[in-house]
Symmetry: C2
Subunit: 196 residues, 2 copies
């Protein structure tokens, strides 16, 4: 059974997550969170040591939430090809993103790069496990005969992930989803070339 405090903390994390994703860590104030949650300082500071702690936990929540969602979508599929397509499709709409404000993994990566070493480590870990996950799927696709051994799993995974994340950012900035749809098709076609 969940205690009241656990539920409140969860509620804070859930409510703060999109705000952090939109405004960025430096752009969020405690008052923003108070207003959104309709809670008070005493309550927030009862659950978090301070703003740094709050930021760290909110970002961690967003990262975990995002990767869990991706894993859920991908693991529903059975073939390697279908898994990769599911991954690509998960990201295909750059405007209406899973969590408002774009991909939290990337948004966070850009911001913490030079200034938040602790959070940076967490994002880096997500990149590495994500990259490994995609590589493994592609590798298994080669092993079970879906893909030709010409395919380099790690390199294709990196290129695909980079292009998708970069594409999202460009599309969100120019307010057009069209290039992303084309990109998604191109990436699928590129993988087609390795289908035996």
């Amino acid at each position: 059974m969940t205690t009241k405090a656990e539920r409140t903390k969860q509620f804070i994390l859930e409510t703060a997550a999109p705000i952090y994703n939109e405004k960025g860590i430096s752009g969020v104030s405690i008052d923003d969170i108070l207003e959104a949650t309709q809670l008070t300082k005493g309550c927030i500071y009862g659950h978090f040591k301070g703003k740094d702690d709050l930021s760290e936990q909110v970002v961690e929540y967003s990262l975990n939430n995002m990767t869990a969602k991706i894993n859920a979508v991908v693991s529903q599929e059975t073939t390697a090809r279908a898994k990769i397509n599911a991954f690509i499709d998960f990201y295909k709409n750059p405007i209406a993103t899973y969590i408002s404000g774009g991909c939290p993994i990337f948004n966070t990566a850009v911001e913490v790069d030079d200034n938040f070493p602790e959070i940076k480590k967490k994002v880096a870990a997500k990149f590495i496990t994500g990259q490994q996950g995609l590589s493994t799927i592609l590798q298994q696709g080669i092993e079970n005969g879906e893909f030709s051994s010409e395919l380099n799993p790690a390199r294709f995974a990196f290129k695909m992930f980079s292009a998708i994340e970069g594409g999202i950012i460009i599309c969100r900035t120019i307010d057009s989803a069209q290039p992303m749809f084309e990109l998604v098709n191109d990436l699928k076609k590129e993988l087609d070339q390795y289908c035996v």
Copy 2:
């Protein structure tokens, strides 16, 4: 002849640019700029209306500086192929970037997405002209027989640019340039396929 004020303003922009690129607009305080420039508030506010104005002009300076540098590098080459390679190579080192802190176009894009509509417009314009520039180079490459007409200039340009920018961010976060070097090679190889 440049006046003292013009030189001071230029100095402020130059000095502030990497700070903004590293910390982000929301992460920079006026005091950061005062400390870096060793100037005083009276001086800063003599040149800029306020923090918003300063931010806007610094970002604009960084964007223009970046695109001018890219243009310089690309326009030195004569063939379409060499121009594209020059573009790719310009971005190939994600750790030691032209301006400290990564690509200012992308860093800015991520931050202003939801909160700074005026600056967002400027970044969007850079994306669009950049995309057009690359497309035009590829198109001319087709026309002069360097590339096959199978190549879709706009789509290849978008994929390439997205992958490069996404790759930079991932590499900077995981503190490794290796995947970027591989990506750069893969992109060049991909373009090779269209060489006649």
